[in-house]
């Protein structure tokens, strides 16, 4: 880990350059000199947009060994995840457009951030997602059909959180950061931190986006995690846009730099470089499990699609940005890297594409065949026990439905 704070840690480097300060005179002023497609020199990156392995830099050096230890099989397996996750997402979008789903929040462009993070977790670790973390869900083993079931409104939240240590999706922005913090504090009290047993030591991951970093819940979670030294990795996917608001309307200091103010390290990683995300997340999770406290990872990426199927990003976002980010595509990049390194041949890529086709057909069919819920289930799960108002409503409603059945005889 690059810089976990201890009592004898060196004083923090200045984290604010004058460029950030000069705008404080005005209230809202676009930071025009900032190229939002450039993550800057602090960003950990191992593979460039064309798939070339980059030289060692100050930023990526602490993580280089993790990448070097990865095998061809690891690379192929991660590539497979990237392609299949993108395909699941594409099907979700199409199914919404065809009226099969109520809504779909697309992760297009964020596959590497999510797969890199998800793959770095161990089975006993626990993830707290927002609502766009389909790639993390995939890595945790949540069947993609269950994701579709949520957005079809038919499966009451989708899955058993404890089956895959993947919490249910959280819709209101930022709430899950506190849930994750509470869970991580529980992990500490269960004695599952710093024992040295790789199957016992546990870390927690909390996912949100750039917009989420403004919420009170988010900032309160960072304070709690810090003071309790919780085994927690905050994973912020900075996809540049909070619905229609760009980064400069959300913060002046990027999330990874703010982490130090809360008392723990922050790292910016190229969110479209799956190897870099994996390496940085693995290091942060290892530190958390070892009892070294939280880390904040900012995955610098881009939301290629809409916020959700409810909005049209061409109305508020310049097309030029999209063109630049297309060149940074995480799948194209990983494939270029694998071809250059000889990790896979053409038949491998064909095989993965074929597997994606099969997966797409399978989940489409599953989605279309999901039955509408029985009308009487509207009353279920409101309370643990019978509630008099609901029981009365349910009885009245059942009698009403039964009257149709009797009339139909």
């Amino acid at each position: 880990m690059s810089e976990h704070l201890t009592e004898d840690a060196p004083p923090a480097q200045p984290i604010v350059d004058a460029r950030h300060l000069q705008h404080h005179e005005t209230t809202v002023q676009p930071m025009m000199e900032h190229d939002i497609t450039d993550g800057g020199p602090d960003m950990v990156q191992f593979v460039d947009g064309d798939g070339n392995r980059l030289e060692t830099t100050e930023a990526n050096a602490p993580y280089a060994k993790i990448v070097e230890d990865m095998t061809s099989e690891d690379a192929r397996s991660m590539y497979r995840d990237l392609v299949l996750v993108r395909r699941v997402d594409a099907e979700g979008f199409a199914l919404q457009r065809q009226g099969e789903l109520g809504l779909w929040p697309s992760l297009l462009g964020q596959e590497a951030a999510q797969v890199g993070a998800g793959r770095a977790m161990r089975p006993q670790d626990y993830a707290f997602p927002g609502y766009r973390e389909h790639g993390v869900a995939w890595c945790r083993g949540v069947p993609p059909e269950n994701l579709l079931g949520i957005f079809r409104g038919v499966n009451h939240g989708g899955w058993d959180s404890n089956a895959n240590n993947f919490h249910l999706y959280t819709i209101v922005i930022g709430n899950q950061m506190l849930h994750a913090t509470g869970y991580a504090m529980g992990v500490q009290r269960d004695g599952k931190v710093g024992t040295g047993d790789p199957d016992r030591d546990t870390a927690v991951m909390a996912f949100t986006g750039d917009g989420g970093t403004a919420q009170g819940d988010y900032n309160e979670a960072l304070v709690f995690a810090s003071v309790s030294n919780a085994p927690l990795v905050f994973f912020v996917q900075n996809n540049q846009w909070a619905i229609s608001e760009p980064n400069y309307k959300q913060f002046r200091i990027p999330p990874y730099l703010r982490a130090r103010g809360f008392g723990f390290p922050g790292v910016r990683v190229d969110g479209n470089d799956v190897l870099a995300v994996y390496a940085v997340t693995k290091a942060a999770l290892d530190a958390a499990r070892a009892g070294q406290g939280p880390t904040l990872i900012e995955a610098f990426t881009y939301r290629m699609g809409a916020h959700t199927t409810s909005d049209d990003p061409t109305k508020y976002r310049p097309a030029a940005e999209l063109d630049i980010w297309k060149e940074k595509d995480p799948i194209k990049r990983m494939r270029g890297f694998m071809e250059t390194k000889g990790h896979a041949d053409a038949s491998f890529f064909e095989q993965i594409d074929a597997e994606a086709d099969e997966l797409a057909a399978r989940i489409r069919k599953a989605c279309q065949e999901m039955p509408d819920p029985d009308l009487r289930t509207m009353f279920d799960h409101t309370y643990a026990e019978e509630h008099p108002v609901i029981e009365a409503e349910k009885a009245e409603f059942s009698a009403y439905l039964d009257s149709f059945e009797e009339a139909g005889r």
């Binding site: 209101v172 989420g212 310049p318 097309a319 940005e321 409101t382």
Partner: protein, 339 residues
């Protein structure tokens, strides 16, 4: 000459007119302008919010339309503070459900400043927010929560049912010296109606008698007013003449108009899209039972959503929302009732 515009346009027009009239009126919230910097598309104001209600305002008032970070507690609190300091902020809380994130600023702060500071503080803030089921937005984006605010002394609560009402009530809300929760039903934004071009106000606490009738009084709120009108047309075919009252504001509530009507018709049906317990429907029922008991020829009927969260599934959501048929059935129960 009728001028038909949408509920969305009527709200936008009210904001624009008041911003022109009064430089202390500002608009703030998430995605109110949208977009970034120069160059189109992507320029500021290209979008105007998730439902386009504030579109165009930034272009005319660039210093008075603020896109805020996603921090409801912060921008609602800031709007409340700005109101005490002389501005008339109109804060947009995207979905009424997000009240959960910022409720302290509303019910402990905005609602109580005047009282706790002995009348020395005024808080002329308007919180515009969209509510209601019907858009497949699930349990945390579909609630009908105006009863919560109606319960709290110090707040005024507005539930406009059509474009004309929306414009006049919003202008009144902005000019009002108390905090106002302005609840816009998201399924009404495309509703068309005849709306005058200039500014006009609709006073709070004055119900609108939408339809005259002698057999039954239907009190309906927000989107339910349209449903009640449809039900009344159907009932007219069966010889039942329904009077429809739209209270327009739940706090203050025009009890006088409601009681006068029930004293004439002898029957009351209240239609409220919210959950039933402690709802405005139950509040109105209790007031009528207290004030006009002797006039009642049948038990008061209440039509509400069930006591459950709003389901996501389309078939369940359709069932959840009170329907025209539910209103017709409730009226029939009242008119058929025999002692």
């Amino acid at each position: 000459m009728a001028r038909m515009i949408s509920y969305r346009e009527a709200i936008n027009e009210a904001l624009a007119l008041e911003m022109r009239r009064d430089p202390s009126v500002i608009v703030m919230g998430e995605d109110n302008a949208g977009g970034a910097s120069a160059g189109s598309p992507g320029e500021e104001d290209a979008w105007g919010g998730v439902l386009g209600v504030t579109k165009g305002l930034y272009g005319e008032f660039p210093d008075r339309v603020l896109d805020t970070p996603i921090s409801e507690s912060a921008f609602i609190g800031a709007a409340v503070g700005a109101a005490t300091a002389g501005l008339r902020p109109v804060a947009e809380l995207m979905f009424i459900d997000f009240m959960g994130v910022c409720f302290d600023q509303i019910f402990n702060q905005a609602a109580k400043f005047r009282y706790m500071f002995g009348g020395k503080a005024v808080t002329p803030v308007v919180i515009r927010t969209m509510y209601g089921a019907g858009l497949r937005a699930a349990a945390q984006h579909s609630q009908v929560l105006y009863p919560l605010f109606t319960h709290i002394p110090g707040l005024k609560v507005v539930v406009p049912s059509n474009p004309y009402e929306a414009k006049g009530l919003l202008i009144q809300a902005i000019r009002d010296d108390d905090p106002v929760i302005f609840c816009e039903h998201k399924a009404l934004y495309d509703m068309q109606g005849d709306v005058p071009e200039g500014a006009y106000v609709i006073p709070f606490g004055e119900a609108n008698v939408v339809r005259d009738g002698d057999d039954v009084t239907i009190v309906a709120l927000g989107r339910m007013v349209s449903y009640a009108s449809e039900a009344a047309e159907e009932l007219a075919g069966t010889g039942v003449d329904a009077e429809i009252i739209d209270p327009r504001t739940t706090s203050p509530l025009d009890t006088e108009t409601i009681i006068e009507s029930v004293e004439r018709t002898g029957r009351l049906v209240v239609v409220d899209e919210s959950n039933p317990r402690c709802s405005v429907a139950r509040d109105i029922s209790a007031i009528v039972a207290e004030e006009a008991f002797g006039a009642l020829k049948a038990p008061i009927q209440v039509v509400t959503a069930p006591h459950t969260p709003v389901p996501f599934s389309d078939v369940l959501e359709d069932l959840y929302i009170p329907s025209t048929q539910d209103i017709v059935n409730a009226v029939k129960t009242a008119t058929d009732w025999k002692r």
